[in-house]
Amino acid sequence: MTVITGSTPVRPEREWNIGWSDVGPFLALLALLLIGFSINQDFLSATNLGNVITRSAFIAIIAVGATFVISSGGLDLSVGSMAAFITGITIMFMNRMAADWGVLAIPAGMAIALVVGLICGLMNGLIVTVGKIEPFIATLGTMGIFRALITYMSDGGTIPIDRSLRDAYRPVYFGTLGGIPFPILISIAVAAIASFILYKMKYGRKCAAVGANEDVARYSGISIIKTRTIAYAVQGVCVAIAAICYVPRLGAATPTTGVLWELQVITAVVIGGTALRGGKGHVWGTVAGAVILELIANLMVLSDFVSEYLVAGVQGVIIIIAMLTQRFSK
């Protein structure tokens, strides 16, 4: 039999495989900006855009964590109430320490927030992985638990931050560095670190593998339990970071803090190009997704077309249309 040895030298090209799921969200973002500008000139004003992007930082930061969880094949519905819970604990801690430690209570409170976030995330992760409970149900359960805890801690009311700390803490949300608001800087930093972890570190590979095919991952010596638990822990830390930025904004935690954030977060991740069934995560797409969501809400207020009753509906329509165009312009 003839053996054909087709030995053309193979060039390992530097291949940039940028697919639709990479640029899609950014094109959608661009389109939205243009539409916004055509509706209301103020839309593109620095203040308005600054406000909107700053605002989207919470969702963006949490959604970056959710990108880990979702790409590893999980889901976390508890992020909103976890954010409220962490905010509550942090404020209570800071208030108690304010008398003795003065302004130092703020960094200490931040550290506490991160630790609590980590623990909450780990708890979610262990229930899902070791307990082998469908993530939807497990995190729905913990969502109820966190929400109950913050309601209990606040007696259903508000937990305001101590007046003595308020001014020292304010810059974390309202301050700027080189003209850029802190929350934006923080979310960029979080996204940068996350994309470094997901794309440059071994863990990112494991995450994608676990999300894409559990069996294959297991046979490749990847621990599903470890990988997915870490993803939930990262999610917890991201929620904590968001909570830290959140505190100075309104200076209080209430039982309504973070209600329905989980839906926004998941929507941001999916708009950003990460598939809900798991697989590769798109960190920057997620950030774009979070900004898109906030922009849509902003557009609703700035435009005068829509009756107040119909705002939620129009948002729904826009999201569906955005996804449809992504799908069919491929």
Partner: protein
């Protein structure tokens, strides 16, 4: 040729005294619940030796290999390496001890790229970071050695089955293992890739590694094996020196009786009457300018190398991919845009990817059997459970599906038996044209004969059978006519005396092709 020389030297080496087996399996048994799949198998695997395991479908070969490589644990018996007892509860442990398995079924993550899959779980690192550039480069090199030219950045989901198989093989060749186990590596490969693989296996052996090799292609076994171990119904029949066995001997040992001729006598066909007419057909990105006619009572073969586009042509005809052109069945045009049109008109298609597209692995056998025939088999809205059960019994009988119990899931059948179930599933729709993509993928030799006889019976009933196969011998043995494809086009037709491997290979390949192919793919 170099292959011959290497083989001879290998045999002389193993004829002498060898100190330690790489792996010794003693009294290995495996039970799944009440079902005994393997009982008391004992085997020594020596370094620098190619040891073939053969046996009928369901004999327990794959199970045995899984036990050796940590994918499952034996219920009795012991493994030892270098005189020390070992036990693997995870594949990684086996891999750390130097044992790796190339699965019979594809086990890759669809959503990841070729390079990512290749290095999954053992990524190359540089300065603590994953070194994608190097991994891509190595992926290209390793795959190229195997004759696979997919881009390292392609998603596994998008590459053909054969390419996936090669990626899977490449994974096992990345590191130096003491024992490499191949479970039917060639079932979906064509001549060229098979040759490359065999050469690589000999190279492994030359480097002193031991190789366990499972195949139902007995010619390969004969060419490669220093020793042959035969399993039958989960028990050892014996271990024999490879060169002393003819293919006929092997078949007899496997089956336990003499086999009649593999290929049925070709009958003289009556006047040709067009059944399936395909004109100016194309599947964007895969094939174009396809025109051919298949006749009533004819076995029409499709030959070609991996990536020739044969699978895609028929998936296009079945409405499973966007396609252009006209397809007529018995003079009536088929609407290519409607997915069920071809199936309703009476064309049945048996996919080559039984695990991904053929069977619901988590389902019982009966629902799998009737899945494509829901309309025909269960007229009206309700299902006929009892009829379904008896159809299953009948199919098990007709296709000789070996099962230990009816209460198993399709995924628990052995590879070959899954293939038979799939064949039964497609034929339950009672098609007048049957397209079989890789009909004997993973089928043992006795059953091959049965399937060939079956194909013969189908055409005798006046149906048309189209066979896509990577095994040229098989095509030559059963087809009345063979069309050869290359790079998405039909390059020729061979019939009668011109039906030889040489002729087909000429049409399927060309010197200009290889370069063009690489350019086109990357």
């Amino acid at each position: 040729m170099s292959i011959e020389r290497e083989r001879r030297s290998a045999v002389s080496e193993t004829d002498g005294f060898v100190s330690h087996p790489v792996l010794r399996a003693e009294g290995i048994s495996k039970q799944y619940g009440p079902v005994t799949v393997l009982s008391d198998v004992t085997l020594d695997i020596l370094p620098g030796e190619i040891h073939a395991i053969i046996g009928e479908n369901g004999a327990g070969k794959s199970t045995f290999m899984r036990l050796l490589s940590g994918y499952a644990e034996p219920t009795a018996g012991a493994l030892s390496m270098g005189g020390r007892k070992v036990g693997f509860s995870k594949p990684e442990q086996a891999q750390e001890s130097g044992i790796v398995l190339v699965h019979q079924e594809i086990l890759l993550a669809d959503a990841l790229t070729v390079a990512e899959n290749l290095f999954l779980g053992r990524e190359l690192m540089r300065h603590g970071l994953v070194d994608d550039r190097t991994m891509r480069r190595l992926a290209v090199e390793k795959l190229h050695d195997l004759g696979c030219h997919v881009s390292p950045n392609a998603l596994v989901r998008d590459i053909s089955l054969a390419d996936r198989q090669l990626v899977q093989i490449a994974r096992a060749l990345l590191d130096d293992y003491k024992l490499v186990i191949f479970d039917e590596p060639t079932a979906v490969l064509t001549g060229e890739e098979v040759e490359r693989l065999l050469a690589i296996i000999l190279q492994l052996k030359g480097q002193g590694a031991a190789v366990l090799y499972i195949s139902h292609r007995l010619d390969e076994v004969q060419r490669l094996a220093d020793k042959v171990t035969v399993l039958r119904d989960g028990k050892m029949v014996g271990t024999y020196p490879g060169h002393s066995l003819t293919q006929m001997d092997m078949a007899r040992l496997m089956v336990g009786r003499d086999l009649a001729a593999l290929y049925p006598e070709k009958t003289v066909k009556p006047a040709l009457q067009a059944m399936l007419e395909v004109r100016d057909f194309g599947v964007p990105g895969f094939a174009s300018d396809i025109s051919f006619t298949a006749h009533k009572g004819e076995v029409l073969g499709f030959a070609g190398m991996i990536g020739a586009g044969r699978t895609e042509v028929f998936e296009g005809i079945m409405g499973l991919r966007p396609a252009t052109g006209t397809v007529k069945l018995q003079g009536r045009a088929i609407d290519l845009r409607r997915p069920r049109a071809a199936m309703d008109a009476g064309i049945g298609y048996l996919t080559e990817d039984r695990k991904g597209k053929g069977l619901l692995l988590q389902e019982r056998l009966a629902p799998n059997l009737t899945l494509s025939a829901l309309g025909k088999f269960h007229p009206g809205l309700l299902m006929r459970r009892r009829r379904e059960q008896s159809a299953l019994v009948e199919a098990v009988d007709t296709y000789d599906i070996r099962l230990k119990s009816y209460v198993v899931k399709a995924g628990q059948l052995s590879g070959g038996n899954q293939q038979k179930l799939l064949l039964a599933k497609v034929l339950l729709t009672n098609p007048s044209v049957v397209v079989i993509d890789e009909p004997t993928r993973g089928i043992d030799i006795a059953n091959k004969a049965q399937i060939y006889a079956f194909i013969e019976r189908l055409v005798a009933e006046g149906r048309t059978c189209i066979v896509i196969s990577s095994e040229m011998q098989e095509l030559i043995g059963i087809c009345d006519r063979i069309l050869v494809m290359r790079e998405g086009r039909i390059t020729g037709e061979v019939t009668g005396d011109r039906m030889t491997e040489h002729e087909i290979a000429l049409l399927a390949t060309s010197e200009t092709k290889v370069a063009a192919k690489q350019g086109g793919r990357q």
